[in-house]
């Protein structure tokens, strides 16, 4: 399960390391954008441990949202061209037998590449 963590001024604290130590759960960092004042981190967390990890982050002052649908496609706009397929670093998109785009959203790390590559403005990364 993907989880988005927002950290504010306290980014210098090793929040992720602390949560891993506290919970003893294996967490994978998919992506992190951190600047002087705040940061957004996307994590991959085992589905059955989500709640514990979320609570642990919150205890350390971070806010957490679970990314149920990290990437959304507007079915009315999508023409199944496939331009999104080969730009995605984690292979979220593929063709099914009838050349229709299938999306495995659980893999998405919200890098945003497909959003700009889609000629039909059909894709959006969701922050909640």
């Amino acid at each position: 399960m993907k989880m988005m963590i927002y950290v504010s001024a306290a980014v210098h604290d090793p929040v992720i390391a602390r949560v891993i130590l506290d919970t003893d759960i294996e967490i994978n960092v998919d992506r992190a954008n951190i600047d002087a004042t705040s940061g957004e981190i996307v994590l991959e967390v085992p589905a059955d441990s989500c709640a514990r990890v979320a609570t642990a982050f919150e205890r350390h002052g971070a806010s957490v949202s679970i990314l149920e649908h990290p990437i959304i496609r507007d079915d009315d706009e999508c023409v199944h061209c496939g331009a999104c397929i080969n730009v995605c670093p984690v292979q979220v998109f593929s063709f099914n037998d009838d050349w229709i785009i299938a999306i495995d959203e659980s893999k998405c790390i919200q890098c945003g590449t497909c959003v700009t590559a889609c000629p039909h403005a059909a894709l959006m990364v969701m922050s909640e």
């Binding site: 023409v79 496939g82 331009a83 050349w99 590449t113 590559a117 403005a121």
Partner: protein, 496 residues
């Protein structure tokens, strides 16, 4: 040899007994039964394609206002249409961008018209005795227009070269996002369903051929611009009534960093009049070849030849690396179009037509005639370059810059090769900090460079992209042989 006539086929379409296959089905059929049998049994083969076709647009007639205006400039939802024709006629091109919104353009206005949405119209004129009005603002839908006729100068490219990128940076092109280091291959075209590949000799596709265009009935009105049948790059000029079209088959599109385009859906029926025509429709993806071009290098060298079968497999090998491919055109919708056209014919709603005149079967494309020759960096660079040794003191560099009244100083290693660059700004910073070390501590090591034979447009792009104003010009041993500044280049470009 069996031969049928258009008339006989249309008779069968009328009584519902015509045998219609899509080009995909026909390929299978011929593989099993051969072209002779196919020519006897099959009446029509339907093709389809749906992809970005920039060379598209619509003629619009707005009707006259009261008092009347002779539109000299007209904007539709902020997108300019060409109005250098009669008073209230205009041609809206698919790639024309909006003046204010870079993600919207002609292709989107055309889609909005088809969808029946309200479109803002703004027109200007200098006013004449017979057309006194100077400004007009109104809002229309497609129903308010007298005519909305799609006329696309170049559509249905027989095939299209595929694109990849050898450089270290992502390229944003009309072939989509090309990832660095041969990160992907993008291709376009419907392969086995491609209209022209199923009739490459233009035996049935010609002027007047009735086709499926954007969900309506349209016509081929000639060979398209840049028609190049000698190299299997044939194109078609097509026309149809926008008022009858469907947004499922006509869509505005945007290629970030490139611009606006339009996805156009075309389906062409091929009447199977004889065995030769049948045999041509047996073509498969494995027989359709195209080249993969490197869009990162000027001149776009060919990396390799591929077939549409390779491209559609999702992976091709480039220089020993497995590279993922994906299309820009929609094979799913190309197939939907071939199916829908097949259904129209089976339902007796669409009759085939022979060409009133055949298209040129020979010919190729010439490049542009340029009377000024290509300007190269060598024409603009200055050969008197001041350089400084990497071991020199900052003070020495500062003096050179002050004396020479220039802003960029290439830094050389002992053997004279370029290793860095310092600008007057770098030096001022170092002096202000009280830095007394050598030039090495103040210089930028990653120098963007040029070579004497580079086109100046490319040098200008480099400077813009890196937000810099000068490039050292080097030889193959990294010896600095000149310096070129944005000022020099602009002067040269302006003079043309």
């Amino acid at each position: 040899m069996t031969a049928k006539t258009i008339l006989e086929i249309n008779e069968r379409i009328r009584d519902g007994s015509a045998c219609v296959l899509t080009a995909e089905e026909m390929t299978e059929y011929i593989r099993e039964h051969g072209a002779g049998k196919a020519a006897q049994e099959v009446d029509v083969v339907t093709t389809g394609t749906f992809g970005a076709m920039c060379s598209s647009g619509v003629f619009l007639n707005f009707g006259h206002s009261d008092p009347p205006i002779r539109m000299q400039r007209v904007h539709l939802n902020g997108v300019e249409a060409y109005s250098g024709i009669a008073a209230v006629d205009a041609y809206l091109g698919a790639t024309q961008p909006s003046d204010s919104d870079e993600s919207y353009g002609g292709g989107h206005v055309i889609e909005d018209l088809i969808a029946g949405r309200e479109i803002d119209v703004h027109a200007e004129s200098s006013g004449t005795d017979c057309y006194p009005r100077k400004i007009l603002d109104t809002s229309i839908t497609i129903d308010d227009l007298n005519q909305a006729v799609m006329l696309n100068p170049r559509n249905a490219y027989q095939r299209y070269a595929a694109a990849t990128n050898s450089t270290k940076r992502t390229l944003y092109t009309y072939m989509g996002t090309l990832l660095p280091g041969f990160g992907n291959v993008a291709y376009s075209g419907a392969g086995v369903l491609s209209p022209i590949f199923n009739d490459p000799e233009f035996r049935t596709i010609g002027i007047g051929t009735r086709i499926f265009l954007g969900g309506a009935k349209g016509h081929v009105i000639g060979s398209g611009t840049q028609h190049d049948p000698d190299n299997n790059f044939g194109t078609l000029m097509v026309s149809g009534n926008l008022k009858e079209m469907d947004t499922r088959y006509m869509r505005g599109a945007i290629f970030r960093g490139y611009g606006i385009s339009m996805y156009v859906g075309i389906g062409i029926p091929i009447p199977i009049l004889n065995e030769e025509i049948a045999a041509a429709t047996g073509i498969s993806d494995a027989e359709i070849k195209t080249n993969v071009l490197d869009y990162g290098v000027s001149g776009r060298p060919t990396m390799r030849e591929v077939t549409y079968e390779d491209l559609k497999s999702g992976i091709v090998d480039i220089n020993g690396k497995e590279v993922r491919t994906s299309p820009l055109s929609s094979f799913h919708i190309a197939r939907t179009i071939a199916d829908e056209l097949k259904q129209w014919i089976k339902d007796g709603e669409f009759f085939v037509s022979g060409p009133a005149e055949r298209l040129q079967r020979h010919g190729t494309v010439k490049p542009m005639r340029e009377v000024h020759g290509q300007l190269l960096v060598r024409d603009a660079m200055s050969e008197r370059v001041h350089t400084v040794s990497v071991h020199a003191e900052i003070k020495e560099a500062a003096e050179l810059i002050i004396e020479g009244k220039f802003n960029h100083l290439p830094v050389l290693s002992e053997d004279g090769a370029l290793v860095g660059i310092v600008t007057s700004w770098d030096i001022s910073k170092a002096v202000a900090r009280g830095d007394t070390g050598t030039v090495r501590s103040a210089m930028t090591e990653r120098v963007v460079t040029s070579i004497p034979d580079e086109f100046i447009e490319i040098a200008v792009r480099k400077m813009e992209r890196h937000k810099i104003s000068a490039l050292p010009v080097i030889d193959p041993n990294r010896k600095v042989i000149g310096m070129v500044t944005s000022g020099d280049l602009n002067k040269l470009l302006v003079r043309r």
